[in-house]
Symmetry: D2
Subunit: 136 residues, 4 copies
């Protein structure tokens, strides 16, 4: 398992008239979580795209337990539990500044050739970096 | 089963640099789908809130099959398959103007007292309107 | 002058905890307004990009007079007052379903070569279509 | 003058298919800028709302000079140049990690009674805190 926690401050424009973070905005928070997770691994998403690899999302699941509110400091914990094949799955837990678990989720993306838009295998360098973390 | 199809034009600001609709924006399209579905039933979400009932989302699942692109005309088909208890689940299918199935999903919301923020039963009027549709 | 009015239903996710449409979301409504305006002229923004022309925004101004609320039906009136050079300016007025003027604004975009990212003149076909409207 | 610089990482979902940050999303970045500016002054926006004061935006102006791109580290510099009356104006400059000036802007908000939705004077505590900064 390889994981990372990133803190995100809730913006006013991310709330809705219920006074909660709009349920769709967690997709953005989850994105930040996985981008910083792979940056910690030594890979930037920009580098992947520059190498001709895109990572469209193919599945998302979220269970919302408690709402986040304006100005909350959300901790997004993102984890990779398995060595990716052509797909990579990130597991998520969001908590607020009081340690309350807000939601749990899962997002699966597929390594894709940016030109042909066809699935490809996880880049070897990425796999090796991840394996070295799994072995620690 | 009670269902409704609503057409949504993809906005430029809803795309990302991959040239696809950003995966989180389907939450907005799904919202439009269910709001128009219940409006067809004779209920506006605004009325519910005015009666002291909020409907926060407690679960969302999306499987992304094909990307939507800028200026696409997306048909969001939303369905209710079961009489709600304190929870109500909407099932979704999005297709584009060429009839390509883009994604399928499911969103569950909970009827909530807007003051106490506690779950309540589905309002009787809502249930009756839905039952009358199910019987047709 | 060439103008067009487009109706937009406010989405829940576009409101904020004040119960108003978040001020930044009018950029999306204005985008819809100008896209439908030029479609009425016989030009799609997609066609422009396919011809190698991008239209980044270089200036925006909005005066907010009254708030829009959830489920409001906003009429976005977009107008072109002058023949574009390398720049094109759209003037806006948004009103709600009660005829209340919500805001007025102005957005300027620049015709740009999509490859060199340098400004270019307004495409001749576009200018001619617009002139024929101005002369009516 | 009282000012503050806040750094914001561009999210993938904030880009559009041109590969630029969508022009409307700067409203969110500007919001972060002013919220952190007033926090530095010792005031949280949440506190204002809890005291019955809302701050709707009444005017926004942005000049876009250069685009921001995915993963850029944007520095949002927000300044207050004048003691607020019932209105408060924030002046903005956004630069990227290379020191390139991306855009300049101005947002005016109005102190409002959250119940009556009528304008009120800038809270005295806020004015005093600001005056003490201006005098330094």
């Amino acid at each position: 398992m390889f994981s990372h926690s990133e803190t995100i401050r809730v913006r006013y424009g991310e709330t809705d008239q219920m006074g909660y973070v709009y349920y769709g905005n967690y997709a953005l928070y989850y994105e930040v979580g996985r981008v910083e997770l792979i940056r910690k691994l030594g890979v930037s998403y920009n580098d992947l795209e520059n190498q001709g690899i895109a990572l469209p999302v193919v599945a998302m699941e979220i269970k919302y337990l408690k709402p986040a509110k304006y100005d909350d400091l959300i901790t997004v914990n993102a984890s990779i539990l398995e060595i990716p094949t052509s797909k990579i799955t990130f597991h998520y837990e969001c908590t607020n500044q009081d340690g309350i678990l807000l939601n749990t989720g899962k997002v699966t993306l597929v390594f894709t050739d940016i030109t042909t838009r066809k699935p490809i295998r996880c880049p070897q360098k990425f796999e090796l970096l991840l394996r070295s973390q799994f072995n620690e």
